[in-house]
Amino acid sequence: MDFFTYVGSQLDQLVFYGQQHFLLVLFAVGIAAAISLAAGTLLHTNRLTPDSWKRPVRAGSMEGLLIVSSAALTIPSLALFGLLQPVLGLGATPSLTALTIYAIYPVLRNVVAGLSSVDDAVLESARGMGMSPLRRMLTIQLPLAWPVILSGIRVAVLIIIGVAVVAGAINGPGFGSSLILGLARLGSVNSFNQVLAATLGCLVVAAVYEIVFWIVQRFTTPRGIRV
C-alpha cells in the first residue's frame, strides 16, 4: 500500500489524532500562559515578595523562579512523563500536566522580558500623571509588552507540539501513540507509513497554529506599535 492510499484509509483516525494533538497543545500552553502571565506580572511589580525583603533578595527570587522553570525544561521529557505516572496514572491528565510544566518557561521568560522592555520614560510619565499601578499594568505595560509575550507563547506552542508526541508513551492523546507504535514495529506492514503520517500530522498541526498566530497577532497588536 502506498502512502497516499494509507492516509486515505486511515483519514478519520488521523483527523481525530490531529484534533487531540491540537487541543492538548492548546490546553497545555493556555494553562502555562495563564500561570506565566500572573506570575510574571506579580514578579515584575515585586508583588510576590514581602516588602520587608531586601532588594537583592527580591531580585534574586525573581531570577530564582526563572531558573526553576528553565530547569524544568531540561528534564528529559520521557523521564518526566514516567515520573508523573505513579501519581497521576496514564492518559490525558499526566500528559497535560507535564506539557504545562514544559510550556511555562518560554512564556514566563518573555512576559518578564516584555514588561522590562517598556520604555522608562513612558512609565515615568504614566506615574507622573497619577495612573495607579493596576491601571499602568493593564493599559500601558501589558499592551506594550504583548508582542513579546505573544512570541513567547508561539515558541512554547512549537516546542509543545514536538514534546506532546512523547505523551504517547503514557497513552496520552494525539499523534504520539500512533508514532511510537509505528516505530516499535518498524519493518512490518505499513509501519513506515504510520510513522510518516504521524510526523506529517504534527507538521500540519504546527501549520494550523502558525495561521492562528498570524491572525491573533494581526488583531491584538495595538496599531501604534505595529511594525
Partner: protein, 357 residues
Amino acid sequence: MSDSGKPMIALEGISKTYPKSTAPAVQELNLEVPAGTISMFIGPSGCGKTTSLKMMNRLIEPTTGRIVLDGADVTEVNADELRRKIGYVIQQVGLFPHFTIGDNIAVVPRILGWDKNRISARVDELLHLVGMEPKDYRHRYPRQLSGGQQQRVGVARGLAADPSVMLMDEPFGAIDPITRERIQDEFLELQRQIAKTICFVTHDLSEAVKLGDRIAVFGPGGTLQQYDTPDNVLTHPANEFVAEFVGSGAAVRRLSLLELSRLELQTVGLDGTGDRNGSPTYEADAEGRPVRWAYLPGTEVMPKLVTVPHSGTVYDAVDLMLDSQTELVGVVDDQQKLQGALWWKDLVEGLKTKGQV
C-alpha cells in the same frame, strides 16, 4: 511678572536623603512659587534640581519637610490623586506609543471620569492651543510625529485636566536648537494665555533667562543658592557660587532681557521734513518704510540701513550690528515705521530705559 501673588506651590524645609547615602541630595529647601509665574530650576548636574521638582508631585518622596499646594499640605495625601492635579512634562516626552494623540491627551481627564463630549472638546482645544490642527493630528500615533510635535503633545497632555501647577523637566532639552527657539517662543505665548504656575528644570542658562520670571540656582549638596528674578541673578549674584555659575557671560545675557521698546532711543527724522542738525534722517518708500540713511551727524559715508522690530531685545540689535557690520540699527514698530535708532556706543556708555533721567 506678578510676583506679589501668594504661592501656588511651596516646599517647606524639604530634605531628601537616599537610602545608603549619607549626604542628602536636597537639603532644607524652602521655595515658594508665586501663582501664575514660571520658576526655572538651574544648577550643575547632581545639584538636586530634578530631585526637587520630582518631590513636588511626590514621584520622589521627601525625607523631611512639607509640600504645600494652594495652601493645603499635600505631603501625606494619596500620591496618585495629587499627581492628577499637577501637570508633568519630561524631556523624553513619554507619550504612550499605542495611544493616538487624542487618547494620549485624554489620559488624565479619563481617569477623572469626565464625560466623552467634554474630553473630546478639551482635546481639540488643547491641540489648537499648541498649534496643531485637531482633525489632522488627533487620530495619529506618536511615532508619526516629529520630536518637536511630540513635545507639543506632551505639553498639551500635561495641561489636559487644567492643573494649576505644571512641572517640566528639561522639556525642550532634546529638541534641535532652531526648533527649540521657536517652541520656547510659543511656550511663552501659551503661558501668556493660560498663566499657569510652572516649575521648569533646565541646564541652559539662556533658556532660564528667557523663560523664567524667577530663577532658582541650585548648588552642591542640593542647596538653594539664590532664588530671584533673572535680572537680579545676573546682576547681583547672591554669592561666589552663583557668580561663577552665571559666569562671565552674564552681562551679555542681560542684553536679551532688555526689550528695545523699553529703551530711550536716539530720535530720527524723515529726510526733508526738518533740518539735519543733531539727529539722523532717513529716506522712506511710499508706505513710509525706511529705505536708507540720508544724513548722520559727523559721517560722510552712509552705512546700510538695517532694522530690528521694537519687540526684539538689545541682544537682537547687537546681533544685527555684528552681522551687518554697522554701528547703528533702526528700531521699527509693527507697521515698519522707524521709531528711533540704537548706536553701538550707546551700549558701552550705558543704556537708558524710559522713565530714567
